[in-house]
């Protein structure tokens, strides 16, 4: 039998779940994206400041969810800083698995990809970012 502690719920994942980084609504965000995991109803909102070169300078998130989606969101906000917007929006399951340090089943991959999907489903953006 697989041992849970050794696999999905690695200390790093649990650490980010218990102490999520950048979990706040970013004031004056240039980009706000939001998505829901239809399976469980968990919702994640991603906020970002983006400069004229479409490089992310700050990213934050809000929303409650399972350990996987929370840790994925937390890790993403750290990883995304200094990266181009489209690079983050193009991230795949493999990229998220690398970030989390675990491999995911088809069902749980949806949890890990939720912050990426939220960042793809932009519900608010400033003109500055899009026309710069």
């Amino acid at each position: 039998m697989h041992n849970m502690e050794d696999e999905l719920y690695k200390e790093n994942v649990l650490h980010h779940y218990r102490n999520p980084r950048n979990k706040y609504a970013l004031a004056g965000a240039d980009i706000v994206g939001k998505d829901t995991n239809a399976l469980c109803g968990d919702e994640i909102t991603i906020y970002a400041h983006v400069n004229g070169d479409k490089v992310i300078t700050t990213m934050s998130f809000m929303g409650d969810g399972c350990a996987i989606s929370q840790a994925a969101s937390s890790l993403l906000t750290e990883y995304a800083t200094g990266k181009r917007m489209e690079e983050i929006q193009k991230m795949t399951q493999k990229d998220m698995e690398r970030l989390l340090g675990i491999s995911l089943s088809m069902v749980r991959a949806r949890c890990a990809l939720l912050p990426i999907q939220a960042f793809q489903h932009i519900i608010m953006h400033t003109h500055r970012e899009y026309h710069a």
């Binding site: 039998m1 697989h2 041992n3 849970m4 502690e5 696999e7 999905l8 719920y9 649990l14 399976l39 469980c40 109803g41 968990d42 409650d64 969810g65 399972c66 350990a67 996987i68 929370q70 749980r108 949890c111």
Partner: protein, 406 residues
């Protein structure tokens, strides 16, 4: 009742036990497992007499019709109904959607359709959509704090405009049991159709449609030891005789002309197309299996296990149990949350212990909103569950707490 012996009738438990850990299946409210006799009944149809049930004059065609109609008689006896009041569908969802279409001509703008806030989405959305199509008022009956539905609420809210009251017999999310005889008398009083979702009750407790006096009732075979893809819509003969079908095609006609067509007698007029014959046969076999044990016996066994789990969980730190706490008001379902843990994480850890539970909103978002939560962990019990399964669940939950709070 010897549940350890019963378990041996279900091949899944042997197939899914691993590394010495038995398979603890606590998700029968979603789908139940099948005993070998049910599997065999369908295998026999598929391997020795598969034929359509429409107009097969050859020998296996006749045998298929006999088996299919024999299953219908079993369902009728199971419900205290007449055979012609039993319509085969693909499941509860299909039954309720079809019924909502069938009743559409009876609903006018300004009429009221009532459901409760504890409904499964399948007994909620079809009525919400019917109200939208017809301009009827869609009323959602509020629940008590513990998630129960008070008949007093329905009595206070139902009136002459109320045309349909659609509620569940047993809540699939909390196990709460509704007072269906009281609700049917309220419906009778205001002249509304009483539609009963029996998906969580028909598999577990005696049902008599004459005593309940419901107008329509729906349930699924897959939740009562039968296969997926087969379900029942029961309707009172006086209604089914008058109501027009909502689905058209082969097998349901009397006469077809270029300008207009007429329908076969009930229940055939509601069964267009080739039905799930093997599924009906499997459902018939499942009913026979259940009837040998007896549904009163099942209910007592499941309530006992659920009560054990509910008591233990209620006394564990960091656990919240939802729904009524009185054993007699509940069926074999326990719904709970673990502080600081998402339901999916709990279910995932239990799964590694070879314990299957449901986690999430259970297709009951109005009820989750009522409790102010995003989801629960649900353990549901059936005839093959044992006290050992309850103990394994409790140990698993403690382990999950240990991992997350270490």
């Amino acid at each position: 009742m010897n549940e350890t012996e019963i378990k041996k009738d279900f091949p899944i438990f042997k197939a899914q036990s691993r590394d010495g850990a038995p398979f603890t299946f606590l998700d029968s409210a979603a789908t139940s497992q099948m005993p070998q006799v049910v599997i065999d009944s369908m295998l026999e149809f598929y391997s020795t007499y598969k034929a359509n049930v429409h107009s097969g004059i050859y020998s296996i065609g006749v045998r298929a019709v006999e088996a299919y109609e024999g299953a219908r008689r079993k369902v009728a006896m199971f419900l205290g109904a007449h055979s012609n009041e039993v319509i085969f569908t693909s499941g509860t969802t299909a039954s309720l959607n079809m019924l909502a279409r069938m009743l559409e001509v009876r609903i006018s703008a300004g009429d009221e359709i009532m459901v409760s806030a504890m409904e499964h989405h399948s007994n909620f959305i079809p009525w919400q959509e019917l109200a939208k199509r017809t301009g009827a008022v869609f009323t959602v009956l509020p629940l008590e704090k513990d998630g129960t539905l008070s008949a007093g609420t329905i009595r206070a809210m139902a009136g002459p405009r109320t045309k349909i009251i659609a509620v569940t017999h047993v809540s699939h999310a909390t196990g709460s049991v509704n007072d269906v005889r009281e609700i049917s008398s309220i419906a009778r009083g205001v002249g509304a159709f009483f539609v009963l979702d029996a998906a969580q009750s028909a598999p577990h407790m005696p049902i008599d449609v004459q005593k309940i006096d419901c107008d329509f009732l729906a349930f699924s075979g897959q939740k009562m030891l039968g296969p997926t893809g087969i379900g029942i819509l029961y309707g009172k003969e006086k209604h089914l005789r008058e109501i027009a079908p909502a689905v058209f095609g082969g097998g349901m006609i009397r006469e077809v002309r270029t300008d207009s067509s007429t329908w076969a007698d009930m229940p055939q007029k509601f069964e267009a197309g080739t039905p799930h014959v093997a599924g009906a046969i499997g459902l018939g076999a499942a009913i026979s299996y259940i009837e040998v044990i007896g549904r009163a016996e099942l209910m007592a066994h499941e309530r006992n296990l659920a009560d054990m789990a509910r008591c233990a969980l209620t006394n564990m730190p960091g656990i919240h149990v939802y729904g009524p706490h009185n054993e007699h008001e509940t069926a074999g379902i326990v719904s709970f949350t673990v502080e600081g843990m998402h339901a999916h994480d709990v279910a995932e850890i239990l799964s590694r212990e070879n314990i299957a539970v449901r986690a999430g909103h259970h297709c009951a978002l109005p009820l989750m909103n009522h409790f102010g939560i995003s989801g629960t962990i649900r353990a549901s019990f059936y005839l093959y569950n044992t006290e050992k399964d309850v103990e394994r669940l409790l140990t698993g939950v403690k382990k999950a707490q240990g991992i997350f709070h270490a």
